[in-house]
């Protein structure tokens, strides 16, 4: 337990770890859905502190990573137009489209601006009535309510030069797709805490019961992850499969009713393509009919885009938990944060970025048993092979 002193409360971390070690009697594979959790796990070496029998599989919960190349290319084309001010969160600046990224568009003279909040983009639209102001609306259930409120405000205040390029995704259909995949090895989920702060836990009991898989709502700090793992392992050892909230300080079972009402008003559920994974039914949101005027895809004719995914990039397998980042041949050589093949290497929540930042010099120390256990097998198939995808 060489890293345990780095925990905020090392004594509590040790107690949690001791309990996990004492509870485990056989191998279990848990998926942490959220990329923020992946970074915590790798940064603090949590996967190496856990018993050999407990494997953490990294999930698809990085919205930047799963935004399809086609949407990135649309963003790049819109951002290049002379009458457009293109607003985005900073995470998107380095995400590679076909041949370039938003950082390069700005370096070539495009008016790309980074905002802290989508409401900042709306203010920019108010201040620049002669420009079209487009906000890049990506993210899971945590980010969708702020973007929904912004579109609601644009309509209420009648700001006609504002629009949203929408690529929102939802967690529960991704869990469903993962469980439906023939290559699925996941036996329990650590659900993303802040998604549940908004959505509550109402979508999970049915999933947990149908797939007989424990779902533990988990926070982002090192001790949160250990507690989430502890509760999931306890359930698995007892043969239980229920929804458990290990992040009660930030998650109410009902979620945030005001945010849910706004989501219902502004968005409607739609199928979405996930980068590297494929189309997952009902896995995203688009603007509802009432707000369609604010949809950048309707406002701008963005056609004739030829996307080109790098053949060497295996981020789709990484996002499905079929491959650990360092098992990719391009990792750290052809693909680095300075020259990324895929978004997983540049996003602040990307699994490849986590391994590059925190594990690069220690690749030789990854336990051999775990490495072998996570390598894709001949039976492994990408999610596209699944009937639900």
């Amino acid at each position: 337990m060489k890293y345990i002193e780095e925990f905020q409360d090392p004594a509590l971390a040790r107690r949690l770890l001791d309990d996990i070690h004492a509870t485990v009697t056989r191998p279990w594979a848990l998926m942490e859905v959220c990329g923020g959790q992946t970074h915590t796990i790798i940064r603090h070496g949590i996967d190496q502190l856990l018993p050999e029998q407990v494997e953490l599989i990294h999930g698809p919960g990085c919205p930047v990573c799963v935004t399809p190349l086609e949407v990135i290319d649309k963003a790049l084309e819109i951002a290049s137009r002379p009458d457009v001010i293109f607003c985005s969160f900073g995470d998107m600046l380095r995400v590679p489209g076909t041949g370039r990224d938003l950082f390069q568009v700005r370096s070539e003279g495009g008016d790309v601006r980074v905002v802290y909040s989508p409401l900042d983009a709306l203010r920019i639209a108010q201040e620049n009535p002669k420009h079209q102001v487009v906000f890049f609306g990506i993210g899971f259930e945590t980010t969708a309510p702020p973007n929904a409120m912004t579109v609601h405000q644009a309509k209420k205040l009648d700001i006609p030069n504002f629009s949203l390029l929408v690529s929102h995704v939802r967690v529960p259909p991704a869990i469903e797709a993962i469980m439906q995949s023939p290559s699925c090895r996941v036996q329990g989920f650590l659900a993303a805490g802040h998604v549940c702060s908004v959505m509550g836990v109402r979508e999970y009991p049915e999933l947990a019961a149908r797939h007989r898989v424990p779902i533990v709502v988990t926070g982002f700090e090192p001790l949160d992850i250990l507690e989430g793992v502890r509760r999931a392992v306890r359930q698995l050892e007892r043969g239980e499969h229920t929804v458990d909230n290990a992040y009660a300080r930030a998650v109410r079972p009902e979620g945030n009713p005001a945010a849910l009402a706004m989501l219902e008003d502004v968005f409607e559920v739609t199928d979405r393509a996930w980068r590297g994974i494929g189309v997952i039914p009902d896995s995203g949101w688009r603007l509802s009919e009432r707000y369609r005027d604010f949809d950048a895809e309707h406002r701008f004719s963005v056609t004739g885009i030829n996307t080109r995914e790098p053949a060497e990039c295996r981020s789709g397998e990484v996002l499905q938990g079929l491959l650990k980042p360092h098992e990719c041949e391009a990792f750290g050589t052809l693909c680095t944060p300075r020259s990324p093949l895929g978004a997983t290497m540049v996003s602040s929540e990307g699994a490849c970025a986590a391994y590059y930042l925190y594990r690069r010099l220690e690749l030789g120390t990854v336990p051999a048993a775990k490495t072998a256990a996570t390598a894709p097998t001949a039976a492994s198939a990408p999610l596209e092979a699944s009937p639900v995808v």
Binding site: Q8, C34, G35, G36, R43, G61, C62, P63, V64, F89, G90, D91, L93, R94, F103, R106, S107, G109, V114, Y116, S117, P118, L119, D120, I138, G139, F140, T142, T143, P145, P146, M149, Q153, K156, L157, A192, H194, S197, V198, F220, E221, R249, A250, V251, R252, N256, A258, A259, M262, P337, R338, V346, S348, E349, L357, Y358, R360, L361
Partner: protein, 119 residues
């Protein structure tokens, strides 16, 4: 981007018919929309994501999280200059020669400097 940071409400007002607040995140202050937590009061803590308060948090939990985020350099990642960070990630020059008017200001003073993690 999915990082949600706890912050303390300093004052509450209204803008364009929307309930807004000034929120302090360990020394960095931001304007935050309270429409999803309309009964949040001055002095209370909430989890804030991209400028929106999403859920109440007790003071002790909030302070512990803020302290941890500061230690790990995560507040710098969230509130520092994104162009500077993107330039550093790609090894590119910043600011660009053609937009001197948009030169980034100094990074906000934070409780702890960003951890040097790049090998």
């Amino acid at each position: 981007m999915c990082l949600a940071v706890p912050g303390r409400v300093l004052d509450i007002g209204e803008k364009d018919g929307t309930r807004m607040a000034t929120v302090d995140f360990g020394g960095v202050q931001k304007e935050v929309c309270l429409e999803y937590l309309p009964d949040l009061q001055v002095g209370e803590y909430a989890i804030v994501h991209v400028g929106f308060a999403l859920q109440r948090l007790d003071e002790e939990s909030a302070k512990q999280t803020l302290e941890l985020f500061a230690q790990l350099g995560m507040l710098q990642e969230e509130f520092g200059d994104p162009w500077e960070q993107a330039a550093a990630a790609g090894g590119d020059p910043w600011p660009f020669a053609h937009d001197p008017d948009l030169e980034p200001g100094p990074a906000p003073a934070l409780a702890a400097p960003q951890e040097e993690v790049q090998p």
